[in-house]
C-alpha cells in the first residue's frame, strides 16, 4: 500500500435474501482478502450444510446465535485492503426491527451500498435503507442492482429499477447516487467487469469504491475543536505546559489563529499545535492534537475551541431527528443525559413533532410514543447551552446521544436539524 492511501468506510444493509452476504463474500474473495484457513472453514461448513460449491455468504457468519438463525443481528465490521485503499465494511442487518443497528453502521460511513433485487425492483426495504442513508447523511450512495443473472442481464430491467429509484429518491437529500448492475453470485461487476453486460459503461463496484472522491466528505470550513482533556505534564522539561487535547471535528486550525472558547466566550490565539513527533503549523479534521494558547484561560472538557470569525450557535432548545435505540420506550418529560461531542448536560424531550413511518416515509403527527427503532422529529431542552451546528453541515458537531441515567444505557441518537 502506498503512503497516501485513504481509508473508506462503507455500510451494507440487507438480508441474506438480497444477496448481501454473497456480495461481501464476493468482494473479499475476488480482492483476495480471504485467508486459506478461513476459506477452508467455510468450505467445510458448505459441505456440512449440503451446499453446492463454496457458499461465500458463510464468510460473514458471526456469533453463535446468528449462525444458528442464519441472520445478521448486530453490526459486524470487516476489513479489506487493495493497492488503492483500505476499506472498513459495517455489515448491518436489513430488517425493520434492526433499524437501530443500521443507523449505527451508517453513522460513520462515507458510502452506503444499497442492494436491490433486479427481479423485485424498488421495494419498501429499499426506500427504508435509502432514507436511513440520507438521514445519516452518508455522502455517497451506490445502488447495486443485484441478481442480474436472474433477469437475463437485461439492460431494460436495470433501467426500470433506476427509474423507480429516482422517482422516490428525489425527495431524499443525497448528493451522489450511482447505479451498478451486478451479479454477486457470479461476480459480474463486483471486482471484475462483467463479460455479459457489455451495455454497462460504468465501473465495477470495487473500482468505484477505490476511486470515489472522499476528501471533501469532512467539513473543511467550520473550525471546531471539542476539548477532550487537558494535558499538564508538570515535568522538568514542560513545567508550565497546558495543552488542550482533542480531535479536530471539522475545519482547519493554524498557529496564530484568533480563537474563541465556547461557551465562556474568552478569546486568545493559538500558540502551538503539538504531537509527539513534532509541532505543526496547522491541524485539520480528523487529526488528534494538543493545542496551546497564548493566554491562560480556564478551559476544560466539554468546552470547544473555534475560530473567532466562525462560531457555532450556543443553544438550549434544539430540534433533532431522533432514532430510539432501546427496548424501554421514552418516558414523557423524563430527563436524560445528553452527550454532544465531549460535552455532557441534562436534557428533556419537550415535544414529539412527528414520527416517520419508515415503510412509507409518511409523517404521523399524532403518534407521540418513542419506541425502539422509531425515528421522530423531537424538541429537546438542555440545562446548559450546547455549541451546535446542523447535522447537514457537520456530522460531528451536529450529532447527539441520549443516556438513561437509571440504567446508564444509550437510548437514543439524534441528528440536529
Amino acid at each position: 500500500m502506498l503512503d497516501n492511501n485513504q481509508l473508506l468506510r462503507f455500510t451494507t444493509a440487507g438480508s441474506v435474501d438480497d444477496g448481501k452476504s454473497t456480495l461481501i463474500g464476493r468482494l473479499l474473495y475476488d480482492s483476495k482478502s480471504i485467508f486459506e484457513d478461513q476459506l477452508q472453514a467455510i468450505e467445510n461448513t458448505s459441505k456440512k450444510k449440503g451446499h453446492d460449491g463454496v457458499d461465500l455468504a458463510l464468510f460473514t457468519d458471526g456469533l453463535k446465535d446468528e449462525r444458528e438463525q442464519g441472520i445478521t443481528i448486530d453490526v459486524a465490521y470487516r476489513y479489506f485492503t487493495t493497492p488503492k485503499r483500505k476499506f472498513i465494511i459495517a455489515d448491518t442487518p436489513g430488517h425493520i426491527q434492526y433499524t437501530r443497528n443500521m443507523v449505527t453502521g451508517a453513522s460513520t460511513a462515507n458510502a452506503a451500498i444499497i442492494l436491490v433485487d433486479a427481479r423485485h425492483g424498488v421495494i419498501e426495504q429499499t426506500k427504508r435503507h435509502s432514507f436511513i442513508a440520507s438521514l445519516l447523511q452518508i455522502p455517497h450512495i451506490i445502488v447495486c442492482i443485484n441478481k442480474m443473472d436472474l433477469v437475463d442481464y437485461s439492460e431494460e430491467a436495470y433501467n426500470k429499477v433506476i427509474n423507480q429509484f429516482e422517482e422516490f429518491s428525489s425527495k431524499l437529500l443525497v448528493h451522489d447516487i450511482r447505479f451498478i448492475p451486478i451479479s454477486a453470485l457470479n461476480g459480474d461487476n463486483v471486482v471484475n467487469r462483467s463479460e455479459t453486460m457489455k451495455w454497462y459503461q460504468g465501473a465495477p463496484l470495487l473500482h468505484t469504491l477505490e476511486t470515489m472522491h472522499i476528501s471533501s466528505d469532512i467539513n473543511k470550513v467550520d473550525a471546531r475543536f471539542p476539548v477532550q482533556t487537558v494535558l499538564r505534564p508538570q515535568s522538568e522539561s514542560h513545567r508550565d505546559y497546558r495543552g488542550y487535547a482533542g480531535r479536530v471535528a471539522s475545519g482547519i486550525f493554524r498557529v496564530g489563529d484568533e480563537v474563541t472558547i465556547m461557551p465562556s466566550g474568552f478569546t486568545s490565539k493559538i500558540k502551538t499545535i503539538d504531537t509527539l513527533k513534532d509541532s505543526l503549523e496547522e491541524a485539520y479534521a480528523p487529526m488528534s492534537v494538543s493545542i496551546t494558547l497564548e493566554d491562560d484561560i480556564d478551559i476544560s472538557r466539554g468546552d470547544m475551541i473555534v475560530r473567532s470569525n466562525n462560531k457555532p450557535e450556543p443553544v438550549q432548545d434544539i430540534e433533532v431527528m431522533l432514532c430510539w435505540l432501546h427496548n424501554n420506550p421514552a418516558k414523557p418529560r423524563a430527563k436524560y443525559s445528553i452527550r454532544h461531542t465531549s460535552n455532557e448536560q441534562k436534557a428533556m424531550i419537550k415535544d414529539i413533532v412527528y414520527k416517520i413511518n419508515i415503510e412509507t416515509l409518511d409523517r404521523n403527527v399524532d403518534d407521540k410514543d418513542l419506541k425502539m427503532n422509531d425515528i421522530s422529529k423531537v424538541k429537546i431542552r438542555t440545562t446548559k447551552p450546547l455549541m451546535i451546528d446542523s447535522y447537514r453541515e457537520n456530522r460531528t458537531t451536529g450529532s447527539i446521544i441520549l443516556i438513561d441515567d437509571t440504567t446508564n444505557e444509550t437510548v437514543a441518537a439524534g441528528m440536529i436539524v
Partner: protein, 301 residues
Amino acid sequence: MSKYYLNYLDELESEAIYILREVWAQFDNPVILFSGGKDSILVTHLAKKAFYPAKIPFPLMHVDTGHNFPETIQFRDDIIKDLGVELIVGSVQESIDEGRVAEEKGKNATRNALQITTLLDAIEYNKIDCAIGGGRRDEEKARAKERFFSHRDDFGQWDPKNQRPELWNIFNGKHFEGEHFRAFPISNWTEMDVWNYIKRENIAIPSLYFAHEREVVWRQDSWIPNSEFLVLEDNEEIVTKKIRFRTLGDITITGGIESDADTLEKIADEVSGMRQTERGNRSDDKRSESAMEDRKRQGYF
C-alpha cells in the same frame, strides 16, 4: 495547496488516540492490558502519543500466566522503566496456589482459560474501571462484534447481544459500581496495518517476532517452542529451526512459523503474502468454532 486529508495509518492513529483520551476522561482508574505482544505494545505506543508531553497517566497491567517467554518479561520490564509508569501484575500461579482455579490436565493443558479468573480478580482488587486492550476486530468473528467501549457486568461478563450502540464518535462509558469496561483503541486495525505502522514508527518489539534459531517441536500444524513446560509425546522430537512468532501468547501454546524475516521490512513483506490468519497458529482458538466467543463471554480479553 497541501492536501487536507489523512492517509489510512494516520487516520487509524488519530482514532486510537481519540479513544485513549476518551478513556482517560471518562474513567477513574483505567489500565492498559499489557501482554508483551505487538498489539499491546502498539496500544502503549499510541497512549504515549495521546498524552505527550505528559506521561501515560495510568498503569500497565500484565496477567502473568507463569508460562512466559523470558524475552517477553525482559521486554515488559524495559518498557515500564522507559515510560516511568506503574506495573500491576496479576499472577495465575497465585490464583492456582490460592485454589481460585485448577490447572488443566493432559497433553493439551494450557493456562489460557485460567487467565480469566486472574484478570477479573486483578480488576476487582485494583478497582479498575476500564481495561484497555489490543483486541482487533479482524482477528476473529466474535471480536468483529466488539465495541470500542465494551461493557462488562459485575461478574466481568460480556453480553454480545445486548451491547450499547456506538454512533459517530460518541462513547458512553457510564457504569455502576462493580462493573467495568474494556476499551479497544485499535479495533479497526488489521494485522497488516499493525505491521506497517510498527515499521513506519520504528517501534521496538520483542526479538521473538524476528527470525531466530530455536528448539521447537512440530505440533498441531505449527512449531511449538521447547520450554520447561513442554511434555513430549512419543512420536515427537525436538529440532532446531529458524523460526519467528507471528503472535505471542503463552510459550506453551504459541506456534512459530519457519521464516527468514529478521527486519521489520521483511516481516511486513512476509505478512502481506501470508495466506493463513495469524490466530491459525494459536491452539487456544482451535478448540471449537466458538472458542473465542465463549471465553469472551466469561471475561476473557
